[in-house]
């Protein structure tokens, strides 16, 4: 199967590296970063391109744009891993549409397009008879979408609860374990590379809420948007609050929660027993699904990271390869 890769940040490099390293039957025929692009129907030399990217800051020909690669390269599936724009979803929405219009499958890790334009993009994919997959948008390496689609097929999902933001979970873990203030734990998270210079998006629960939007739309098709989520962040928590929870055998975690029968769509810090399956340490993510047949199922895993996210993307690609594209 031939693929085109748009975006060569941490995730894009992880995907390219794994495709080059593993014998998956996937060939990269087009690549673009924000400054350049290149195409070769016989397959690109990935290691060479990644070396150039590291040395010179761009991977290909600066006269070739991402749009050129999407419109002209020969590929079966587009891998769209450009940075998330939570407000407009662009330019990723445009990239995805262009590929779908060419009847190309799309795999993305980009939360913007899926949270903002899911209905439209899904309808377009269906109309063109191709697949749009986005396992990597929620909870990194955890195969939540595959679990919902296949493992739990036929189940009614009654509720979901999740720890969906590794940055918040790291901060809360450190506050509880070391008695750090929020500010100290945030500083540490930055030093470890777990938090952005502007942590607003993570610590105010926006990132977790966007993931909840994606999950809710996938499961219930209810068309909810970011503004429908009742959201409270962790930036006003005190070490004393964590200690008070600790005294009762509990801790505090940022929990994303959706319970349609109670009209609950909420991201908020919650008191939770320390032995609860959702209490995971550090940057881990966790998700509990409550279903009619399987009852409760909890998945725990890494929510971010270059290779971890590549795992989700490659899972989607191989699913497409097995379902639609002739085996190599």
């Amino acid at each position: 199967m031939n693929v085109a890769l748009i975006g060569l940040g941490s995730v894009g490099r992880g995907v390219a590296g794994m495709i080059a390293k593993k014998d998956l039957g996937i060939t990269i025929t087009g690549i673009a970063d924000s400054k350049s692009g290149c195409m070769d129907p016989d397959g690109l030399d990935i290691e060479n391109l990644l070396t150039r990217k590291n040395k010179e800051g761009y991977c290909g020909d600066q006269k070739v744009s991402a749009s050129d690669v999407i419109r002209k390269a020969e590929y079966d599936a587009l891998i769209e891993v450009t940075p998330t724009n939570a407000l407009t979803g662009e330019p990723a929405i445009g990239y995805i549409k262009a590929a779908l219009l060419r009847k190309k499958h799309v795999v993305t890790s980009n939360k913007g397009p899926i949270a903002l334009a899911f209905k439209e993009l899904r309808a377009l994919a269906a109309k063109k008879g191709v697949s749009l997959r986005y396992e990597a948008t929620v909870a990194g390496a955890i195969p939540i979408m595959h679990t919902l689609e296949h493992g739990l097929a036929g189940n009614e999902i009654l509720a979901l609860y999740g720890v969906l933001n590794g940055t918040c979970n790291y901060i809360l873990t450190r506050m509880a374990a070391e008695g750090l203030t929020y500010e100290q734990a945030l500083m540490e998270a930055r030093e470890m590379g777990y938090a952005e210079a502007d942590p607003t998006y993570d610590v105010q629960g926006i990132d977790a809420a966007i993931k909840l939007v994606i999950l809710a739309n996938t499961i219930w098709g209810n068309g909810i948007r970011l503004n429908d989520i009742d959201r409270t962040g962790i930036d006003l928590l005190t070490p004393d609050a964590l200690r008070l929870a600790e005294d009762e055998g509990c801790t505090i975690r940022l929990i994303a929660e959706a319970i349609p029968r109670k009209h609950i769509l909420r991201v908020s810090p919650r008191i939770i027993e320390k032995n609860h399956p959702l209490v995971v340490d550090g940057t881990l993510n966790a998700l509990t699904l409550e279903t009619d047949m399987a009852k409760e199922i909890t998945l725990i895993g890494r929510g971010a990271g270059s290779t971890e996210t590549a795992s989700a993307i490659i899972g989607d690609l191989l699913f497409i390869k097995d379902s639609y594209v002739q085996r190599a």
Binding site: A159, Y161, T232, L236, L237, T238, D240, A241, R243, L244, A245, D247, E248, C250, I252, I255, E257, S268, P269, R270, I271, I272, H276, L278, T288, E290, E296
Partner: protein, 172 residues
Amino acid sequence: MTGDPVQVSMKLEMKDSPGQLVAALKPMSDVGGNIIAVIHQREPDLDDDTLNVQIVLELPEGRREKLVALLNEQGVRIQRIDEERLRYKRTVIMIGHLMHTDLSDTVDQIDSTGFAEVCELAMSMPAVNERSSSRITIKAVSKGDMEAALAILRRVSHQKSLLLIEPLEEIA
């Protein structure tokens, strides 16, 4: 939080003859009790002339001894007596300027409902003008009452700009 009614469940044994049940119930109203349920149980292995009755009632605090004495006077045998106060318990954490926003009013908003009360409060005040943190345990008569009590706390927290951290609901 004194003076709040106590929920009492009693199992009584009495003679199965006219007027006995009324005689047993009268002391309950005499001490200011509020009868919630009367459950008759005719157990097959008991003598025909004995009646077993289970009674659930709300009793003003401190009236239990008096009621027991009155029932004994009436010749009613108390097989079992259990006090069931407010059965539902939840713990929340509040963060913010708790004293400056009148903590006793916050607590009173719950206590004054009659169906829920604050039964434990732990506080930490790091320094003047810094936000304090408190752990508040609430008891309520029923699950619905607990929901109502939490709704009050949400409203009060919003009004007083306090951060309310609720427990994650039991996965049912």
